[in-house]
Assembly symmetry: C2
Homo-oligomer: 101 residues x 2
């Protein structure tokens, strides 16, 4: 077997991280509120540690939970990762000169 590419590794990582936290209590196919908080504090501490407002994670969970079932499924989790990636990417682009044809 050949080595996975960076993109393949990334897809595998996203699934592994979701499974790791989703498997801590209850249904192993969704993140409960507690699992979401554990995920955010463990994996995205660089984001959460600067948040002075204790309600920010509650509001994020509510906003991400599109079907309002109190759980985040994998699609809802990917929306969080995508949102963070876009925010980082935008700040990267705005710091770079644009190349146009």
């Amino acid at each position: 077997m050949s080595q996975p590419t960076e993109t393949e590794r990334c897809i595998e990582s996203l699934i592994a991280v979701f499974q790791k936290y989703a498997g801590r209590d209850g249904k192993n196919s969704t993140l409960s509120k507690t699992e979401f908080l554990t995920f955010m504090r463990s994996e995205l501490a660089s984001f959460t540690k600067n948040q002075k407002d204790p309600g920010v994670l509650d509001r994020m969970m509510k906003k991400l939970d599109l079907n309002a079932d109190g759980q985040l499924d994998f699609q809802e989790f990917l929306n969080l990762i995508g949102g963070l990636a876009i925010a980082c990417h935008d700040s990267f682009l705005s710091s770079q000169p644009q190349k146009r044809i």
Copy 2:
């Protein structure tokens, strides 16, 4: 500085991979059709090599290009990655017994 977490590494990788292919020709903030094809054949060869239908990548590009500008921006690229991750995750879940409370 502490080591990045798996989630942080993954977000960085997604941005780096997109930038690598988007920077090959024209605008460096979008994937042209040629850049998309290069990305798919280089990074997702395990998916593309089993495709007998030569039109499948054309149809994927059209479907992903939500604003139909002939280019994939970072959000549209993330929809591709998310779609692949969901397909892999679903096949993982269906191979596992469900744990319920």
